[in-house]
Symmetry: C2
Subunit: 344 residues, 2 copies
């Protein structure tokens, strides 16, 4: 397997432009809030000093801009969308970390641990409001007002899906009877909806609304599913130093796809063991290895890897359905492959 830690080389050119756009938006926020927001983005430490810590990979903005390029658009015109989807993602992470009681994010304390939950909830809200400010900069790029209104609507519908997904994720936390279908329905909303709107809007703002945009929307959605399932696999079998998560998904009893599959499909002693462990408050020590063993034996890992691959191929089929030239599709294909095979 081709293991890479960072986005493909051709994506790095987008990184600086996206960051510049994001900085413009975030630095327009009230100074009191700016520190928390810049900290969360990984641009400064909690005292306001610039830091070289790991920041986000800008996966959603990158997909948005690649989608724009694929339809022959001008990426500078789509930059407001790129910033907006990253800000939506960031707002949801700030709130998710509180909701899931996650201590760390990218090897650093979550915002709520440094500023407290009340300020962190509020900082997430500000990030949410900034996403709309970012999007509305489409006006300065010469995008027509009707497109701006439709883009705003699409983005806020994706946010609603994201909230519904998060509702289900929280709701499933204390249940052992979640089916694989329940889980996939949740992931489609919580993760895939935002990736889908990223690829759709990247193409939409720089072309006429058409079948191509629809196909790229579905491409993003399928890729989002593959992405989430890969995330779930890494959360159990990935290396902690790569995933940047403080304790992995097993100790925190996260019911990700392999676990849901394992609970549904394992039998006998394995099933009983899994049920018992996931009914506890924490899973620690030797029990972590036991969970991994039961999951492997139930076929959960193979199932998840296979399903991620299926969504990846469906994503590629949607890319084909755009009817775009091969050269135009190549970068999207490459990033899709990268997202399927990443080790973080």
């Amino acid at each position: 397997m081709n293991i890479k830690r960072s986005l493909p080389d051709f994506c790095t050119s987008y990184h600086d432009a996206v960051r510049a756009e994001l900085e413009k938006v975030i630095d327009s926020s009230p100074s009191a809030l700016r520190n928390m927001l810049r900290y969360h983005m990984g641009w400064q430490d909690e005292h306001g000093c610039p830091c070289r810590g790991e920041s986000g990979k800008f996966i959603r903005p990158t997909l948005c801009l690649l989608s724009c390029e694929a339809v022959g658009g001008d990426t500078s015109q789509a930059m407001p969308v790129a910033a907006a989807v990253e800000l939506i993602h960031s707002f949801s992470l700030i709130h998710d970390d509180i909701e899931d009681a996650s201590y760390d994010r990218h090897h650093r304390p979550a915002v709520w641990r440094l500023w407290g939950q009340p300020q962190a909830i509020n900082a997430g809200d500000a990030m949410f409001a900034l996403a709309y400010q970012a999007l509305l900069k489409l006006k300065e790029k010469g995008i027509a007002d009707d497109k701006i209104a439709i883009s705003t609507r699409m983005l806020s519908l994706a946010c609603l899906e994201l909230c519904e997904g998060q509702y289900l994720d929280l709701e499933y936390e204390n249940r052992l009877d979640i089916t694989v279908d329940d889980y996939l329905g949740m992931a489609a909303k919580k993760t895939a909806a935002l990736l889908a709107v990223s690829t759709a809007l990247g193409a939409y703002v720089s072309s006429e609304y058409s079948r191509v945009v629809d196909s790229l929307h579905l491409f993003g959605r399928e890729l989002g599913m593959a992405f989430q399932i890969r995330d779930d696999i890494m959360g159990i079998w990935g290396m902690e130093e790569n995933t940047g998560k403080s304790a992995g998904d097993i100790p925190r009893r996260k019911k990700t796809l392999p676990v849901v599959y394992g609970l549904q499909h394992s039998a006998g002693k394995g099933k009983a063991s899994l049920q018992k462990l996931y009914a506890q408050e924490f899973i620690v020590g030797e029990d972590i290895a036991e969970v991994k063993r039961v999951l492997e034996r139930s076929g959960a890992r193979a199932y998840a890897e296979n399903l991620a691959e299926q969504h990846y191929h469906r994503a590629l089929a949607q890319l084909e359905a755009t009817g775009l030239d091969s050269s135009r599709k190549a970068p999207l294909k490459e990033i899709a492959c990268f997202l399927l095979k990443r080790d973080f």
Copy 2:
């Protein structure tokens, strides 16, 4: 003083229309979230049964629609704005109740107490996203796309101000050195900004952008200040059964205007007593009466009442500055007077 518990009679006609618009938007949300959102609006109990409990007064939507009428607009066209500002207000209340650890809202448990903090944070986020969905219905009302884009921008700027105000409010919680100016700056953002955008947008969507809209924006802002200061007075000297708050502002050591004034302007034993009490975690029993005594003696109540009156008169001056006919201004004048004198 003319004491009234409900909005002036001429406002009740708006109430049903606003509620219908809000129901349309909220009922378009994912069913899982809808229960929490409808509960928060006071439309159903936690089991989903319709309830006749007290719901919000729709002060912001009412101001929006009265402002629309004042410029000769068609209130049905401004209805999406009316719904949007109420949804923004509602989202902020759901989050504020968590951030301030407030147990009750309108004599009922806050959302977080029934569904837990994680789901309540997420429900607030959904309400936030719905506000934009509500606003974008302006398109169905025949409002031009450029106006929709500008309205969206104005609304999200008001949200940012609201977040900044909330940041300051939380930040001031553990400080005893807040000045009256600090406090008023915070209230301008936390409360007045949303009332200001309500009156501004109500006029803007149904008329050309002009000095009238600017004046109505400032009218809303001044009225918002009077409104907040009145709220602060009621939080200390109001009757609990009217304000609907579980314990009043003194037991929770809320540093509202009279307290900030009292800490800054009382002297000797009174100041020492106030400082001591507000450095504690709670204020209970006889100490509550002691706080009220010290505040009265420092002139805090008179100061706050006078300041509310000043903002009210400045609001009326802005209304005059619109140059609109007296008959057009009358309803806004009446609601302003009502908001200054309300006992809840």
